[in-house]
Point group: C2
Chain length 446, copies 2
């Protein structure tokens, strides 16, 4: 995205509503909250990500000259409205949960308070950023829980949904506990460790597999992982054993072998034996190929001698849960709480706070100005005031450490991959005052 460009990364109705707000002189302050309506059965919890990108978007939001010219030429808006957009800035206040936090349904993770036009325009992009990053962080957290102590690398750029998805996924996965990503640009942009060695095409470009191994070793003596399944996995492993003494004479240590097809458990066992028998007990095994947290858990439950996993498509598309019901809803306007009552989509009104009660007590969602519960931690913290961030972005490593603590604190039943109903394991209660407010709004006639 270029600066200016991102202002049009919105739904058209945001602009028609903005025009109506301008026409009516509706400039009151609105409170919008971003939350997930319900968790799918495949997710016992969610891990928050994408807040940093959301704040960056808000802070830099403006309409570029090309975008204004296009809006003008579109004939869909009166010129005076387009002129006003030239000065558009986000001047609001934002509260957010810290990235890497565990959260549940009906808990606002981001609260925006701003003149209604500003808070409205940003809806589409805020959901777009936080929804996806959170999907991937939550999926990655499950992989991390399934593979304690094992190396986990994001391999999913190629089937992520576009470039930004690949980048956001690499960041979200690392935040959630992955060890790194294969995506080079994510390394440059976010300082994430970058992993990768060779593909089948490299092997195939050589007349013989053994030649390919030898040549690659000569070129990459300090980072040598060899892919052994291009033709026959065990045959590949035996070639490595044959090659190893010659490499050792040149001071080259083989770090790992990668398996990428077939029955990974069976191959890993056979290859491990070939390596051990061949005097290479220190060479690690790294597996990839259509892996997800469930397959990883099954491999480790069967004691597969695998030291690391590349997780690709299932991670970056969050393949079993490619979308969740993340929404951004008006909760108050001009000091008055609002409640949408559409069937199956009713919201809890008013600006809110989420309190983490500690232990197995779960969370309490309350109005933001209610008295704090005893010994509870407020999860929504001020992060932006009058359109400016209150502090520089936290280092990603700090957020990653926070995520690890969050996962460690989860009750055991939520740390499994089983389908769970988190509402029993981690109750999220709605405060009596909030319930009373909702009932009161329902009683009012419209």
């Amino acid at each position: 995205m270029r600066t200016g460009d991102e202002a049009l990364l919105t739904d058209f109705y945001q602009l028609t509503m903005l025009q109506a707000y301008f026409d009516e002189g509706l400039h009151g302050r609105a409170v919008f909250e971003l939350f997930v309506r319900s968790l799918p059965p495949e997710r016992g919890f969610l891990l928050l990500a994408g807040i940093e990108q959301a704040l960056d978007y808000l802070e830099n939001l403006r309409f570029g000259a090309d975008e204004l010219a296009w809006l003008h030429d579109s004939g869909r808006f009166p010129p005076d409205f387009v002129d006003r957009l030239a000065g558009f800035r986000f001047t609001g206040d934002v509260h957010a949960m810290r990235e890497g936090s565990v959260f549940f349904a009906n808990e606002p993770v981001l609260r925006v308070e701003a003149p209604i036009a500003e808070a409205q325009l940003v809806e589409s992009r805020l959901i777009n950023l936080v929804h996806y990053a959170t999907l991937v962080a939550s999926k990655a957290a499950r992989c991390r829980l399934a593979a304690p102590g094992r190396l986990l690398v994001d391999f999913g750029l190629r089937r992520a949904h576009g470039a930004e998805a690949g980048l956001l996924a690499a960041r979200a996965a690392w935040l959630a506990g992955f060890d790194g990503s294969a995506t080079v640009l994510a390394g440059q942009r976010y300082g994430i460790p970058v992993y990768g060695t060779m593909a089948h095409s490299y092997i195939e470009a050589h007349a013989r597999e053994a030649d390919a191994f030898a040549r690659f070793a000569a070129s990459q003596p300090d980072n040598l992982t060899l892919l052994i399944d291009t033709y026959d996995t065990e045959e590949g492993a035996r070639r490595v054993v044959e090659l190893a003494p010659e490499l050792a004479r040149h001071g080259t240590r083989i770090r790992a072998l990668r398996l990428d097809s077939g029955d990974l458990l069976d191959h890993a066992r056979r290859v491990r034996r070939i390596l051990d028998d061949g005097g290479l007990p220190d060479v690690h095994l790294f597996a990839s190929g259509n892996l997800d947290e469930g397959r990883i858990a099954a491999l480790l439950a069967a004691d597969a001698p695998i030291d690391g996993f590349g997780v690709g498509t299932s991670l970056t598309t969050s393949a079993d849960v490619p979308c969740i019901d993340a929404v951004y809803k008006l909760q108050a306007y001009d000091g008055r709480p609002r409640r949408k009552r559409s069937e199956g989509k009713a919201t809890w009104p008013g600006a809110k706070q989420v309190w983490r009660l500690g232990g197995s007590a779960g969370d309490l969602v309350a109005l933001h100005d209610e008295a704090p519960p005893t010994d509870a931690v407020p999860l929504l913290q001020p992060v932006m005031r009058a359109g400016r961030r209150l502090a520089p972005a936290e280092p990603l490593a700090a957020l990653r450490a926070h995520a690890a603590e969050e996962l460690a604190r989860l009750p055991a039943a939520l740390r499994t991959l089983d389908r769970t109903d988190s509402t029993e394991l981690w109750p999220v209660r709605i405060s009596p005052a909030l319930q009373a407010l909702a009932a009161e709004l329902d009683r009012e006639a419209h």
Copy 2:
């Protein structure tokens, strides 16, 4: 993406392989093909998209100064290798199917012939672009087939996986037969019709729903769709009937009402009756809210009086099939065909052509230099030579017309939403010469 930036939008192993190719002096010409290994049961065919973006990427690919500096500073590569990347350009030849074409498993949709380093580096991004755009075009085609003659609008930016996904989805959906998108930037960038009116938050910002309707009508007299389900759908419809005479006096015509929650069939019938009884038979009904091709088909099968549909998350995440097995494989190096034989992942070797045989005869995948079958159409056409496109990009409207013709030509059994095994309905045969070549390569020792 900035220019220069996109060169790092690749997997790290592409760079380590490039370094090895440089070190070894492996500069021979490689043939890579992009294809889908198998279709999931939810898809009887795929509709190709993303080729224009892929060619644009290839034509503009270079390493920017920041990217080179980062690679240098990473310490992962020798300086002379990084220096050589400064001059890196894609100088290869490309064949591709036309966007909007229907295709099936094992059919190359893109063939790249270039010095191996060039053809290798681009793997990750080429798959990233074509895989996702094709997913969405294929999903959108199913929606189009389910809703003949109805207005279809992409509403899915907010839950698309990042910004680029939202944009590519809007383009792919329009190409496949949607009428437009809510995504404003897609309108600017691709000239796609843009749709949208109001959200629940607009209604809620007003004390009374009737006030919101009247104010919006005053602001948007030429494009008036009113959202009626914020509080009570039928009550909302009755308010519209009450308001209509006053609007008519000001020359404002209500174009449509939008339903977004609850039982859409039931609401549409009730609202249609309210409108018809209220003298508004010309006001259209537009439905949205968790729709996909299956729900649309069910609504229309029940004769729901709905004139148009907004399809969001299920479209832009291709929710039932968020990924397919799209790959980019080395098929020849230095004039010699290559075959990967990994279990379950074996490839057909050599540069190939896909012939469409006509009628119900299906397709033939053959070596590119075999004699053409009688009356068959070659689907892969030259689109780039020596790194330059052979023609300017086709207008998107022309590709959209092509997609419509392709869909119209499909056999009836593939035009349904049923789970089908396309291999029986649209046979894709492998030519005897290609089969013989594969067998011959398998016989050779490695």
